[in-house]
Amino acid sequence: MNKSELIETLAKSENLALKKAEEVVNTVFGDMEKALIRGERVEIRGFGSFKVKKYDGYQGRNPKTGDIINVASKKLPFFKVGKELKDRVDI
């Protein structure tokens, strides 16, 4: 399922105009995105939570050549599956 299918399904089940459904979906993911960019946690009960994890930079080696390289620090978002979703997916 992609975003436009999600929008269509939402429009049908909530009896919304397609445009309104699109705005709802864009608001939901737009707000979650903005929170993550600010470094905040997102917690959706029954679905899951998102958190940005920070990794320190370190000095590594290119395994092929043995050259020392600096690996920059990075931030990556992590998703933890909520209990209800976890239970429903696992069969």
Partner: protein, 99 residues
């Protein structure tokens, strides 16, 4: 601060112009649709945000770390999230000062 569903509902009410109860219902439905889809074994791809994938894990031998006993962990189905490169770069480019 943690972003929760209530914030998404208020934002939907402010930006989309639906009633309070309709906004609440619609936001709840978005996650319900994604849960249903994932439960049916289908992935959900939100372009620009990321992809929620259903992965089949096969049975494997594990060990109870507390007792050290060998045990068999059964096959199961889990959800994983792969962040979109677009979102990853936005998070990465943001000022370090937020941490």
């Amino acid at each position: 601060m943690t972003l929760i569903k209530e914030h998404l509902v208020r934002s939907t009410y402010d930006n989309v112009g639906l009633s309070k109860s309709k906004s609440s219902e619609a936001v709840e439905r978005v996650f319900e649709i994604m849960r249903d889809t994932l439960a049916s074994g289908e992935d959900v791809l939100i372009s620009g945000f990321g992809k929620f994938c259903v992965k089949e894990k096969s049975e494997r031998r594990g060990r109870n770390p507390a007792t050290g006993h060998d045990m068999v962990l059964g096959a199961r189905r889990v959800v994983t999230f792969r962040c979109s490169p677009v979102l990853r770069n936005k998070i990465l480019d943001d000022d370090e000062a937020t941490f």
